[in-house]
Symmetry: C2
Subunit: 359 residues, 2 copies
């Protein structure tokens, strides 16, 4: 409900503006798109992260301090270097303060009319650079490919555990305590049920395929390629775009152009690294290094699913993608009560800015 | 993903704690409940609102400055006082900077595979007291009943407009610019489609009734009354409780105990005012006057719906309620990517605190 009260004059001006509800065909939710140039220009200021000056080069997560962390689960390393020692490019640790517990059996039960499941899962920390302060947008293509390869390894490995229905790659840039705040990192989180947002996407994708015999996401990609105005960046394999019903200004979605269900079935990441570097570089430079969330929405764990007969059509229906969401602020109170998201930047305008690199 | 890193010791301690996924039978979403006493105690500090010292008694919304605002749409007044003059108890204005436009016809159309609707709607501002700084928690029962009666009037009136599928009463306490920040107010927002959260509730309620021939909400109320531990306050007509799968610490839901579909079908509000005053007073005193959101989830606009044959079973299925959500913070990044909400206070613990008035 945060909106300035500059009086009736502005309200009148605004009635001439783009003022649309748009439905997202994936989530089924409606966003209210209010393209408001004044608010848009304030974003670059509002989105500013907390100070980044105090990067700690002696952080326990920096190369050389491997003894100060729990033993590594996985690392991509220079040849000839040792586990839990120098020479790593990407390093994966158990999360110190996990909100899910790795040990135990699943206990899924009813409690009267309610459903309860114990908090079994995995929570790992991916250190994406040996150097504090080096973020994804600054990395060489080679290092970005290492990071993506590490995501792949952990997702594949955790999916061997059939207690887990889903493995989510979750990055929250500019968030984290102490040393982590300024050290590029992501979380790999394995959960005993499919996350609600993924479940909605799976259901929409299945309905769309059942009805049209085409992949929902492929249809979106085709329409976006023909309309062009929401495309930010494109190469042979990948397309980055501002979603038609963006929930938040400068939301970005990256799709493989060819139908593919699972992120982790890729073994080569050079074009994805190029696309990521482009879009993360743009939001960093245009919005002054904002906080953002990045998630990989890959297909669910078919090893866990098949056993139960779920999602037989998953490879047909689902199309993995990456969502990047600069952190919204202020406007979310209406969302909490109603589910309507209000967005002050039209996706066409946002894509134009991200494509050109300037307002 | 904001969690402190106090090392393995805390992680070990935590494995003994309540650590549960719980499914909300209304939204279908899962919350991860991690009862964390340390985080819980920090909330009272974190939840502190911005300074409330600078209440402006000369605010344009204060009694006596009626000429500085747009003309009133509705007011509850002392007998013999005039429109747009002193003597009001509750006053409703058009919102100065609405995000929906009242004028125009609905234009619902497809755009390729997407759906678009123009931003037609109504957006009104309810001034809940003639005195800046007097909030719902501080009011006399009589004044709270005036406020509830004003909500009712505006909802009834806006529902006469069949362009509107829904009328939402939305309050965001501690938010707003300039004079509004410290002047108790709510928004009445009429929208041309049912808000996504209400739609999910309507669907769950219908599924439940179709299957069990009972109201979903009545079933919840019955289970809560028999289990007792999540009840905060109860009188003859109303019950206030911490929802089983609370999305956020100290979330509160108020239900009429007898099945009723529409808030606005009430004409007498004394018991509801008592319940509201109790729970808002508790969160004010325990959590240092936090920001919170309050919404009334009433049934949709059957005048608009009937014409189209929707929701024939609405009076059977749906049960109105009030949701109160202290503003969460920090932990929401995981929610944005996954749809899982993480809550550091179990509803049983939260209800115990709210019931007793102390930690």
């Amino acid at each position: 409900m945060k909106k300035n009260n500059h009086g009736m004059k502005r309200a009148m001006e605004k009635s001439n503006n783009n003022h649309q509800f748009r439905r997202d065909p994936i989530s089924g939710n409606w966003s209210l798109i209010i393209n408001d140039e004044k608010e848009l220009r304030k974003l670059a200021e509002d989105y500013k992260r907390k100070t980044v000056e105090d990067i700690n080069p002696k952080s326990k997560y920096a190369e050389g301090n491997e003894g100060a962390t729990p033993p590594e689960i996985f690392a991509i390393r220079d040849p000839g270097t040792n586990r839990n020692d120098r020479g790593w490019k990407v390093r994966v640790l158990p999360n110190n303060d996990p909100f899910l517990q790795i040990h135990g059996d699943l206990d899924n039960r009813g409690a009267g009319m309610y459903d309860v499941m114990n908090g079994i899962g995995a929570h790992e920390l991916v250190l994406e650079s040996p150097t504090p302060g080096e973020h994804l947008a600054d990395m060489s293509s080679e290092q970005l490919q290492n990071v993506l390869a590490a995501y792949r390894e952990r997702i594949l490995d955790l999916k061997r555990d059939t207690r887990f229905r889903y493995v989510l790659l979750h990055k929250s840039h500019g968030e984290g305590d102490e040393d982590l705040l300024h050290h590029s990192h992501s979380h790999v989180i394995a959960t005993p049920m499919t996350p609600p947002r993924i479940k909605v996407e799976l259901n929409s994708a299945k309905d769309h395929y059942d009805y049209k015999e085409r992949c929902l996401f492929c249809d979106i990609i085709n329409q976006e390629i023909s309309e062009k105005e929401r495309i930010i960046s494109e190469n042979e394999q990948f397309i980055a775009l501002s979603p038609f019903a963006s929930r938040t200004p400068f939301e970005i979605c990256i799709y493989p152009k060819k139908h593919q269900t699972f992120f982790e079935w890729n073994t080569e990441f050079s074009q994805l690294a190029t696309t990521l570097k482009t879009v993360l570089g743009r939001i960093k430079s245009i919005l002054n290094d904002p906080k953002y969330i990045m998630v990989i929405h890959s297909g669910p764990n078919i090893a866990a699913g098949k056993r139960r007969g779920y999602w037989k059509t998953i490879e047909r229906d689902y199309h993995w993608h990456i969502e990047i969401t600069p952190r919204f602020h202020g406007l979310t109170s209406f969302y909490i009560g109603s589910g309507f998201q209000i967005n002050v930047a039209s996706p066409e305008r946002a894509a134009g800015i991200l494509r050109s690199g300037r307002f």
